[in-house]
Symmetry: C2
DNA sequence: CACAAATCTACATATACTGTAGCTTTAACA
DNA sequence: TGTTAAAGCTACAGTATATGTAGATTTGTG
């Protein structure tokens, strides 16, 4: 049994974030001491680790909720989990592509901005001038 | 002169988002028709294009505000704009690295999840099991 | 037992939008 | 010119994912 602070440290999560996860039902309601402080067991550490890893992998909280629900009912097919992962992979690949285009553009912007005046500064022009645009015009994924 | 809907279409922005930008002072207050509808000029299209490009490039609204302020005062040194761009480039490179680690892990997860049962499903195990973790444990950038 | 550190609740704030309700304006067509 | 559907208006609430703060209480340690 350990405190919320210990759990926070072990998982690299803010204390408030753990309480937030409890509030939205992603973490179960923790047991309490006589004085009302939360105490956690190893299973809570596992669950929170799962959540944090999934967050780092770009899963949204709803996708994580789905995965946890699946994990809570073992013995069922994992095709659902697989399809969630595939969905995420697709998004991740798209984000990488977009960021790489972005990286190129920023590098070009910086290399062309050689300490001149704003009026001549490519940093602003590249973003202002449509014809020089290298990125597509889709929304950034929510 | 064109309507907010036309501006939205040309820039790939939601109408509400344009109004939101006006509200937070990122876009100037638009001129109005006698009936109170907003009407935009080419300069507004330029400005919004600038904002949307910058957003796609990963700039936060405050960074964009800084850049626009610089652009509104031409003739000054662009070293500030340059440093903003460099800051962004650093973040972008980090995001790409993190996403690539993430991509590898998702691919592994999917390849190892061959339609089995959840109890055996690596999708869940990889996320649950700390020892198999390939990613670092930093926060996802805010 | 004293006391600092950690925790508690409740609420506010942040970022960047998105959605809805209910009413008004515009523009196109007959 | 009259009608009417589409688009626009304001105001407010909601979303996702947390983070920050205030002020009171609990815990663990010397």
């Amino acid at each position: 049994m350990f405190s919320i602070g210990a759990l926070a440290k072990r998982t690299g999560t803010k204390v408030q974030t753990i309480r937030y996860y409890e509030q939205i039902g992603l973490m179960p309601e923790a047991g309490r001491t006589a004085g009302g402080q939360r105490r956690y067991a190893a299973s809570d550490l596992d669950r929170l680790s799962f959540i944090r890893h999934a967050r780092q992998l770009g899963f949204g909280l709803e996708a994580i909720r789905e995965l946890l629900d699946l994990a809570d009912r073992p013995g069922q097919s994992c095709s659902d989990a697989d399809s969630i992962a595939r969905r995420q992979l697709k998004q991740v690949a798209e984000r990488i592509a977009r960021l790489q285009a972005l990286q190129t553009e920023l590098e070009r912007m910086i290399s062309e901005c050689a300490g001149g005046l704003v009026a001549d500064c490519r940093v602003l022009e590249v973003l202002r001038d449509h014809s020089e645009c290298l990125t597509n015009h889709e929304e950034i994924g929510g």
